[in-house]
Symmetry: C2
Subunit: 723 residues, 2 copies
């Protein structure tokens, strides 16, 4: 945005202010890192203690063979926790439902969904996530942590929460979108870093999946934030290792220290790994498409009202409790190994050998998986030297149950993540494959479980470098790298042939106008002129107040071209672009003129650049809130000092594809379309994000549907033509 | 580029061609990965065998106490190898001198330096790098590997080498800059991946340091390329582990397996680590500024002629040999430890306990460092449980020698890298600090060496995530992560206060017009109108051949605006932009008209889009090579079908900063400047990369120098004013 007022403001900035600005940027990153790591630690501590207490109580009852009481306590505590999570979500902050990653991703692309970053959302997300995860629902905490991180960053960036009076003047430094987006990117990096204790993975996740624009300086700041998270977490865990955190065990913050020894693998291990990747890719895309369908059904239910939402969540909780408690009864008891590496049967909370209903000296392998938190289940699956521990049937049951439970649990009205469920499901799938291959491979089953997780993550989330690094940081073994890369490559390639990234699917189903970085082929056939629709709303350089109010009330546009016409200029001249928010500020300040004559002297009088600073999300004024008398309505406003005099513009014959590149790469909100042949109106239209949406374009030009090219995906109808 | 011809070409592309295009992209990435890993492996194998043979022969002579003969053989073989490297570099491909990373980085920014990617360059770079590294010069192989990778990618991308007749039609798929740049990015990722066996680090290096534009799809392809490298290298090393690679030992490809055990570190270890980071940052910036000064002196010598260049290289080689052989005599012999983990004194090539001149049962610690390849020296420095092995004085001597030798070795006329020398120097510095701190820290000295390397790398290269991952992959220990992040953060911050990234300094000293991503503050004060200089060269839509030839011969511009004037239009209309290369093709094809009348029917006759495809670097035609008769000179050309009719344009009042963002983010080569008030000439100028260079801008507007803001760097003159 360049207008005369901001330019003057910039010129008045002195070196000390620039220094202050840079200093604040880094301070904010530090604060974000600190707060996110504290929240992440608290989150883990709470989950480990609540869920741990629940499992200790029920396990003790099981040991005492009071099975009905154990089930009653287990299911009722799960029910209560789920109910609590869904109640606070549904009544206090409905924006918290789901993982939050799609919302943050859309925000970073430039879509301002309302209220996703309020203080209320933050609190509900943290508490709701803790109780949802503790309630044994098959949901994760990574997604909510990302949203939490982004929330913390956004609230700091807009200078506190205005609604609750928690604002600080010294925090209000970042007046523009870009600085706030940068902070939110750092926040989401910190979120993953805190959830998985994977700082580098977090930075890469923010880079690969979240951010739409990225600069080297931002990488550096995100790295700083993630480093703070890593250091603070490391210090806090040091405290916990001294046993001051209740049931929070050693390595309670996820880090599955799989295999510290050297892993030998050879050329003949590659075919099973490739198979794992291919099937994982297919499963991942199946997962995505099932999830999308379930979400569509859930939306129908959720639309009926808050009551139905909560009922749905409660149903899922009851089903989950029944399955978790009921399915282990199917599995046959197995005798404890002669030389177990840990006590068998397990005493207390977590461990590989749950006794469940078995006789002394025996354990129930399915209960070791089901009757645990997800983190512990992953630890059991990833652990080495346990190749004989699980039965084929148990693993199959566990895999199928996890697969469907995670699909059905995501859409409920509570903070739910997808990362951990996908990791559990993938681990059980990989371990199953490993067990089927058996001794024909030198890889141990724990390693197969890791690769299985990688394949399902790759097939569902479709990230590359970031997933690779996250898995490496989770398992703490770099020697796995070539195998993990191979699996990710294959599963992503296979899955990409069927459908899109899970977050993109969710975003599309939520209707966010997400702007892709690449242009679709039909966009090359169309010019920008072709997609500009609707009547163009123009303002004069000196405009009547009534006109402004009328236009603002009748349209929802956020930017308007301003044209000077005779007698103020010789010919119609495009002066620039003015924003809705700035017009509203002008109207609110009532700096009106009695006659349509420019006033050069005191244009800035009574205005400060701060008045035009970007408001926090949802804090902007609305035109309906401004009262103007009839007399004022007939006065005039000189818009000139507040116009962005050099907006980006494209010529009307430019192809839509080329305009999209400009729009997306520079990160614009509006681009003006100017005529090819001068003379006549100096502007023919204005393009916004919505004009590039495939739905809009295909609506205007249905014929171009034919040349829509969906990244060469296998589409069953087109395939069926071949046969 | 959008012109009528390309548009027609695109429309004729069918689905199968799109599929072919995508398939080729991936095939190319596969080929790049395969070739780069083979080259990297061959490179290592050759160095290990050549240098290994040299050390075995001289060590054996030393054991036999024939010191003079040993020195003669050592120094003469070093001299011969250096001479060979500098001869082929100086006479065959002078572009190969140095690391090549600055050139590749500039290319990816849009600066086409001539001949940096020819087949000749590739071969000389590979062979020269092998002999330079084998000759015990303190130079690395990582930089040359990046250049090699980029070279392989570029040669594949432009469809082979035209000069040597090695072209394949099926390879000529990538007609535009973007596709070629993408391949080169993948190639440089593969280079680092092959040099350090650090695939993820390679991808991040390409992203953080090399690429100026980056898309998610590119990340995915770079990851694929790096994964191929990782898998191929892993397979080749499997072969070597069976002992079929001569002197190529276990883990010959760098991977310093430092500490497989758990590393305990506590809060009181943080202050020494911070100290290490601060001093490392200062040393790194000192390193950069000394290197820059030495390069300036070397440039004066090198300008005098090829003979002087080679003399310089030979002098450095002789000095290096003398230092490496002479300095260990200073160190006192130490008795072998009572319970050594490996034979003492070392027999054969590498090892921690070199006997050198010592009596039996003793070893020379300085010789263990100097009288080894750099890789082995790093291994010795990084190794654990060797805290008592080195003396303070030896370590200090080694550090100082490495520091200066690497600065003086970089600028010689041979392929020289900076990574490995900086790692060695940093490791010795870190180990020295560790020895000085002694038992006051629980960290072992090997760990201090790793952190020292990180601090010097951070202080000199100024990368964050990529360096962090490269070091993790080198040392294969993820538990170090928080400490490495801390050290990198501190050293980069400290060093950034003094000067720039080493590659940027080298690029600036080479005079590449590198376009930064951020705008400097004075650019906000200037409009694009202010920097447009020189007479504007316009063409008419139907232009006389003689005019075109004259303009092309008298200017060096690469793009020209085209304007239709009456009688062809009612008023002067800006039609678009035409490229020099396209004009030359038109002249070469001699599709001339006898009268200045448009011909709509057969405009495309005789032209194919391939004719206008971007030529390989340095393969373009020149205007001087085209012969035109007088009659032809008086004919006309209809430019319309070849004009890019929708070039990006900015209004003349736009600030330079805003135009720079557009230019840089969209990756433009030209941007047209149009007047604010219509009527008159429809275009007032054309901006190119050179117009944004600070030198140009400050030349035109010397007053804005005052507000030049050098990222808040400490500048001694301005500091001295305070006192």
């Amino acid at each position: 945005m360049e207008n005369a007022l901001f330019k003057q403001d910039w010129r008045s900035n002195r070196k000390i202010q620039i220094f202050q600005y840079i200093f604040m940027k880094w301070t904010f990153c530090f604060l974000i890192g600190l707060l996110v790591s504290l929240v992440g630690f608290f989150n883990n501590l709470a989950v480990e203690n609540i869920a741990g207490l629940k499992f200790v109580v029920t396990s003790n009852m099981m040991l005492a063979r009071r099975f009905v009481a154990a089930f009653a306590i287990f299911s009722s505590s799960n029910f209560a926790l789920t109910l609590f999570a869904s109640l606070i979500t549904a009544f206090i902050a409905p924006e918290c439902a789901g993982s939050g990653i799609p919302e943050v991703k859309a925000y970073l692309n430039g879509v301002d969904a309302p209220a996703i970053f309020s203080l209320r959302t933050l609190l509900v997300k943290i508490i709701g996530s803790i109780s949802a995860v503790s309630s044994s629902l098959n949901v994760g905490k990574a997604g909510p942590m990302v949203h939490t991180g982004a929330c913390i960053a956004a609230i700091l960036g807009q200078g506190g929460s205005k609604k609750y009076g928690l604002t600080w003047k010294w925090l209000r430094f970042f007046k523009n979108d870009r600085d706030r987006r940068d902070l939110v990117t750092c926040g989401s990096a910190a979120g993953i870093a805190a959830a998985f204790r994977a700082p580098v993975g977090g930075v890469l996740f923010a880079l690969e999946e979240m951010a739409s624009w990225w600069r080297s300086a931002l990488l550096w700041r995100a790295f700083f934030t993630a480093a703070i998270v890593a250091i603070v977490l490391r210090a806090l865990i040091d405290v916990c290792l001294r046993g001051k955190c209740g049931l929070f065990g050693k390595g309670g913050l996820i880090m599955y220290d799989v295999t510290s020894a050297d892993i030998p693998y050879h050329l003949w291990d590659v075919p099973p790994v490739i198979l794992l990747g291919v099937v994982g890719g297919i499963l991942g895309s199946l997962y995505n498409s099932l999830l999308e369908k379930v979400l569509r059904i859930y939306n129908l239910i959720n639309e009926k009202g808050t009551f139905f939402k909560i009922i749905l969540a409660c149903c899922i909780s009851i089903c989950t409790s029944c399955l978790l408690f009921g399915l282990p009864w199917i599995a046959s008891c197995r005798p404890c190994p002669l030389d177990p590496s840990e006590p068998c049967p397990t005493i207390g909370r977590s461990g590989n050998y749950k006794k469940f209903q078995c006789a002394p000296g025996h354990y129930n392998d399915l209960a070791s998986l089901f009757f645990n938190t997800n983190d512990d289940a992953i630890k059991n699956l990833f652990s080495k030297n346990t190749d004989a521990e699980f039965q084929h049937s148990s693993m199959l049951i566990f895999f199928v149950t996890c697969f469907f439970l995670s699909i059905f649990s995501y859409g409920i009205v509570a903070p739910t993540g997808l990362f951990v469920p996908v990791i559990v499901t993938g681990a059980s799938y990989g371990r199953l494959v490993g067990m089927l291959i058996g001794s024909r491979s030198t890889l141990n089953h724990g390693l197969f479980a890791v690769l299985g997780s990688a394949s399902l993550l790759g097939g569902s989330m479709r990230m590359t470098v970031s997933l690779c690094v996250i898995i490496l940081e989770l398992t703490n073994n770099l020697l796995l790298l070539p195998l993990i890369m191979l699996v990710l490559l294959i599963s992503k390639t296979v899955a990409d042939a069927f459908n899109g990234n899970i977050y993109d699917l969710i975003m599309r189903s939520k209707g966010f106008p997400y702007l892709e970085a690449h242009a679709e082929p039909y966009m090359r056939q169309l010019t920008v002129r072709d997609v500009v629709t609707g009547p163009l709303r123009l303002f004069q350089g000196i405009e009547k107040v009534a006109n402004i109010v009328h236009v603002l009330k009748t349209t929802g546009h956020n930017g308007f071209p301003v044209v000077d016409e005779p007698p103020f200029s010789e010919a119609p001249v495009l002066v620039g672009l003015i924003l809705r928010a700035h017009l509203i500020t002008l109207l609110k300040k009532k700096a009106f003129l009695h006659s349509p004559m420019p006033n050069f002297s005191d244009a800035f009088k009574g205005f400060m650049a701060d008045d035009f600073a970007k408001k926090g999300l949802g804090n902007g004024d609305r035109i309906e809130d401004i009262d103007l008398s009839d007399e004022e309505m007939n006065m005039f406003v000189d818009l000139h000092p507040f116009i962005n005099t050099s907006p980006y513009s494209v010529v009307e014959t430019m192809s839509l594809a080329k305009a999209l590149i400009l729009f997306r790469e520079v990160g614009l909100r509006h681009v003006l379309v100017v005529p090819k042949i001068p003379g006549g109106v100096p502007v023919v239209g204005i393009l916004t994000r919505h004009d590039f949406m495939p739905e809009h374009v295909l609506n205007v030009h249905p014929l171009s549907l034919r040349s829509r090219w969906r990244r060469l995906r296998f589409q069953w109808p087109s395939w069926s033509k071949i046969f």
